[in-house]
Amino acid sequence: MLLRYITRRTLIGFVQLFCLVIAVFFLIRLLPADPVSRLVGLNSSPEAYEQAARQLGLHRSLFDQLGIYLGLNPEIAQGLLQGSLGTSWATGSSVGSEITTFLPVTLQLITLAFILAFVISIPVGMLGALNPGKAADKGIFVYSLFAGSQPEFWWGLLFVYVFYFQLGWAPAPLGQLSPMTFPPEPVTGFMLIDTLIAGEPAKFFEALHHLMMPVITLAFILSGPIIKMVRQNMVRALQSDFVLYANLIGLPGKRVARYALRAAMGPSMTLIGILYGFMLSGAVLVESVFSLGGIGQYAIRSVLAFDYPAIQGVVLVITAISLIVYLALDLIHAAIDPRIAY
């Protein structure tokens, strides 16, 4: 049963990704941008322009280009079917390998931010749900509305001003390590893991120190919707029949709250998944404030350079990860809440 569900979801996911690839491919090319002149400069000779267009494969028809991108003509160039995301027009290296260096930075950042946001939000949301209508509940409600509607890049800058410039607690917002530190051998791409593998605890703590401000900034923004959701689901769980029953048979309040929390976490998983998928690209502004060099910054660079294969690759990878996260969280949902079966 479970296996069939996973297979079905995966198949739907592939169809969705295929449609997405086609849609993005044509969407980019329908827009009135000229990537060739961006590459060779506006004052280049017609011959140089022609040659550059030929090198990028733009002299072929749109459908031929799509075929090559999908990997239907492997004799001309490797495509998606061969597991290649193409070659970046701006740097000339493979998009796939570029994304594998940038993606872990973002994943590390948002995963830590989610964990922190969750650790804060669950007790706060429960506090609100257990005291409905009281002052604490109202305060929590206003906070969650506020945090969820804030310009995160501005808060990032504000934190830089206060904690770096004024107090000196945080390092300069110049990347994952300070510019003078030699980065460890990239094994997994995750800085925190790589420093440990290299056996350099000093660098591990340095990386953690550099991650502190961006993670706090993102966790602050994320805590808004997460608190709201925990509170809402908790209120709903507290009103359900099994909680009424648990209260009637005289179970201690703390234990009932624990049962209710478990039931409330299930539906929360779906929203967490959506938020996580959203954050993969939503972290771009925070990444750029702290110059972390994540997938978002790679996207900015590619977009501003009109680097079509890179743009397509980023969109494809981000969407694919979101779909995987949705599936994984739906499965976790089923595991947490025994009432659900697929």
Partner: protein, 304 residues
Amino acid sequence: MAAATQELMPEQATYIPPAHRADWLMRIGVSIVTLVIFLAIFGPYIGPYDPTRTTIRIAVPPPGFTEMPRLFWAWIDGTLDHPPHWMGTDANGYDIFSRVIAAPRTDLKIALLANILSLIAGIFFGLVAGYWRNWSTELLIRVSDVLQSFPVFIMAMVLVALAGRSATNIIIALAFVYTPIYLRLTRAEVLSQTSRGFVEAARAMGNSELSIAMRHVLPNSLTPALIQSSVTIGFAILLTAGLSFVGAGVRPPTPEWGLMISTGANQIVLGEWWPSVFPGLAISLTVFGFAVLGNALERRYERG
């Protein structure tokens, strides 16, 4: 517990305030939104300086709180050689106060127009997809699903950067990104409305399907999309500012909050906080205002 109490003591058990009474939070939301609309109309004219022209005074910090009254009276008396820079000037010499209050013209215009466009498109397609259910409208929903699975910020950035950095293109890009949301909301509401008695009654009286859809189902299905739009306007302002921040938004010297924050971002590590802090404060309050308003409308709608 609450469900049980309600069953035992129906009606008068809990006091529900009448729907027309606004709570204080909603008042805050309405005040902020009103102020922003006022500034969008008059902002560019009431600032002491031209928001798109530099002054010769570069990176002047804002006056301290204690100094403000004295400066104000000196300004009224005409003993100052130039109007005070209430929020200082930035690295190019722009008066920040004039630009902060002129920016709603740009930000709100983009957010509002993008919202109206996506509302119209979303409601239209939502009505069609919800009322006439066949393979073509099914396809429409699938297409909208694919659009909704796009990473929003990157898509908006791609559309604006490749189509050209103008306010019009930002409006179109945002409308494109937000249409699927309204489509879903409207379609869901249409689906629930069409199963109700009044639709059958209208049909029994001999109305055509088109007239039932337009005159009976549509007016009853607008509310969720309209409520959502208050929240979406706020998020559209955030997105517009974010686009400017990464260099894919409106061009300088257009007064726009995100662009102003971005201009000041390089100086903030050097301690010049004012070029970024004031426009950011404006965004922070504005988006909060729209979120509060949207939330209040939502609660009011749920209460009926």
